[in-house]
């Protein structure tokens, strides 16, 4: 094994690329805020611009959170195949503090009425007689307000604590010459087991609180898993693309083709999980046909039909056809190509979750705003993740499954 290639330094080209993305993105965000208004509607305050920033913040935050979940899953299941790419998964999780900061900033701005993404944050929403009064929301206002803020802060601290702790243990283990009792590994297994429990509950409740409450009148118990499957596949794609890229620039030759094949299988499988949950939610609502439930799909069907079909096609039919065969899952170009497209598909899925509840029928189709905003967050994500990657060797040193992973073959 080529040991000098274990320490990653961010190539200047990649750093440049991330800066260009951020610059272009920042420029479009500024332009977006300058140009985004609707003639004749005084209640429309840059809603689309704010929703875009929200979607970008959420997508990449959720992605790194799902990567933390994926890492925890490897520990909890005592999986051996993934040890060679563990550092890449960890690097992706290191965006979580950034993502959560953006979310927190947006929440605080919303509470001070700078943007109107959350209907229930409006003044006097639960005060009878007020012009903003909404009876349906007033009846469940106990779940929002202070209680919502307590939950939000708990999620953020919980996730951050586990993620940073997992990373810290992993780095500590590297400092030892030899870890005879695998003490750090056992610590991480315990941490991960608890994190799985926390994540199982909070991934659902957080998506209700942060995304579903945009459509405050509407509710769906399946929504949490639907959001979760979307963020999980995005994380898997981000990890896969990173490893393929690292191999291309000459690092990580120790990652076997079989490990990449397994990542391809995950990509394929979780695409189906997403489709399954998406369709389950749609079909039950379509079948029951209850007015307060169908509103969700009605807005989407009326003003977002093209996007809705695009999302379904890109995230379901495309990976199904492209990743079915063993050969395509082992072809790095294919993995990268298919992965990139599904990655964008799942970003559009988040757009589909946010926009209809905020922008509504003012939507005019995808435009440079969505892409420019996406570029900013993508650039930041790349910058943060590559820097995190450069901070530790690309291969873990003291891990009981290291040899198993190096010889992994399927």
């Amino acid at each position: 094994m080529n040991t000098e290639k274990l320490n990653f330094t961010v190539p200047s080209k990649a750093r440049m690329f991330s800066f260009v993305l951020m610059a272009v993105g920042l420029l479009s965000i500024i332009l977006m805020f300058l140009t985004d208004h609707v003639e004749g509607d005084e209640n429309y305050h840059h809603t689309r611009a704010w929703s875009n920033v929200f979607a970008g913040s959420f997508f990449f935050m959720a992605l790194s959170l799902a990567a933390a979940f994926f890492l925890g899953l490897q520990y909890a299941a005592e999986a051996g195949w993934s040890t060679t790419i563990k550092r890449v998964i960890e690097a992706v999780t290191m965006y979580l503090p950034w993502g959560l900061s953006f979310m927190m900033l947006l929440f605080i701005l919303g509470q001070f009425h700078v943007h109107h993404i959350y209907h229930w944050m409006a003044d006097g929403i639960a005060t009878s007689g007020h012009e903003n009064y909404d009876e349906a929301i007033a009846n469940k206002i106990g779940y929002f307000g202070t209680f919502w803020w307590v939950r939000t802060i708990l999620y953020m601290f919980g996730w951050l604590w586990f993620t940073l702790k997992l990373r810290k243990n992993s780095l500590e283990a590297d400092k030892l010459d030899i870890d005879i009792n695998n003490s750090f590994h056992w610590k991480n297994i315990k941490l991960s087991a608890w994190f799985m429990v926390l994540f199982a509950v909070t991934s659902s409740t957080a998506s209700w609180d942060w995304l579903m409450s945009i459509d405050t009148h509407w509710f769906s118990t399946l929504y949490g898993w639907y959001v979760f499957s979307g963020m999980w596949i995005s994380a898997i794609i981000a990890i896969t693309i990173l490893v393929v890229w690292l191999k291309k620039v000459g690092y990580m030759e120790f990652v076997s083709e079989s490990t990449m094949h397994d990542m391809g299988k995950w990509m394929f499988a979780i695409s189906f999980l997403w489709t399954y949950l998406y369709f389950s939610q749609f079909m039950l609502i379509w079948y029951a046909d209850i007015p307060e439930e169908v509103t969700y799909f009605q807005t989407r069907w009326e003003s977002y039909k093209a996007l809705m079909w695009t999302v379904l096609f890109v995230n379901f039919a495309f990976p199904m056809v492209m990743l079915m065969s063993r050969d395509t899952k082992r072809n790095f170009f294919f993995l990268m190509f298919v992965g990139t497209i599904i990655f964008i598909g799942h970003y559009l899925d988040v757009i589909m979750m946010v926009m209809p509840g905020t922008v509504g029928h003012y939507w005019t189709g995808l435009s440079w705003m969505e892409f420019g905003n996406f570029f900013f967050f993508l650039g930041l994500f790349i910058y943060v993740v590559l820097n995190a990657l450069a901070k530790a060797p690309l291969l873990v040193k003291n891990h009981p499954f290291l040899q198993e992973s190096l010889h992994h073959s399927t």
Binding site: M283, Y287, S409, T410
Partner: protein
């Protein structure tokens, strides 16, 4: 079926087995099969077997299941017995998707299992010769088919050189026959009697 002469070589390690397979094949011997305790990835390629067409069969079964589901439901709900269910159209595709999916999976899964059993000649009451009992435990057993011209002593020596821990000559039935393992001959009981 016909009885044939076989030479078997037992290996205890994949890393020895793969080069041995290569050596035996380049030497021109015909490997009947390699029996392993667990699936060994890449062994099929090393043995030069053609890719299985089981997945093509699976695809055909799946399409059959899908067609069955669509044609059945659409005929029942639009022609044979149209029902008004919650004001939905008679041709209510979203509601059928779960059934279409399930039938696709059912046909593909059951069909593939049966095809697999057929290809491997497995069925209740069907018996085949076991070349070595430890092929089900911890040993990779390479079976080489001999002709009249094969010098079996040379072959056994060749296998030992290639890393086989144990070799022997067997005259055995190649195909299957009806029989029972508890009553019929049990090749693995008679051969290994260990003195106390």
């Amino acid at each position: 079926m016909a009885k044939k002469k076989f030479v078997i070589g037992c290996f205890d390690n994949e890393d020895v087995l793969f080069p041995a397979v290569k050596k035996v094949r380049t030497a021109g011997y015909k490997i009947q099969d390699v029996y392993t305790p667990f699936p060994v990835h890449g062994l099929d390629h090393a043995l030069g077997m053609r890719e299985t067409s089981l997945h093509t069969a699976g695809f055909i079964y799946g399409v059959t299941g899908l067609t069955t589901a669509i044609s059945c439901i659409s005929w029942i709900f639009t022609k044979d017995w149209p029902l008004n269910i919650g004001g939905k159209p008679h041709f209510a595709l979203p509601a059928w998707i779960p059934i279409m999916f399930e039938l696709t999976v059912l046909f593909a899964a059951v069909g593939m299992v049966l095809t697999f059993c057929y290809l491997c000649q497995l069925a209740p009451g069907v018996k085949k010769h076991h070349f070595h009992a430890r092929a089900t435990d911890d040993t990779f057993v390479m079976v080489i088919e001999c002709t009249d011209k094969t010098n079996t002593d040379d072959l056994q020596a060749f296998l030992s050189n290639a890393g086989a821990l144990e070799t022997n000559l067997q005259i055995a039935e190649e195909g299957w026959w009806f029989g029972r393992y508890d009553q019929d001959e049990m090749p693995f009981e008679s051969t290994q009697i260990v003195a106390a």
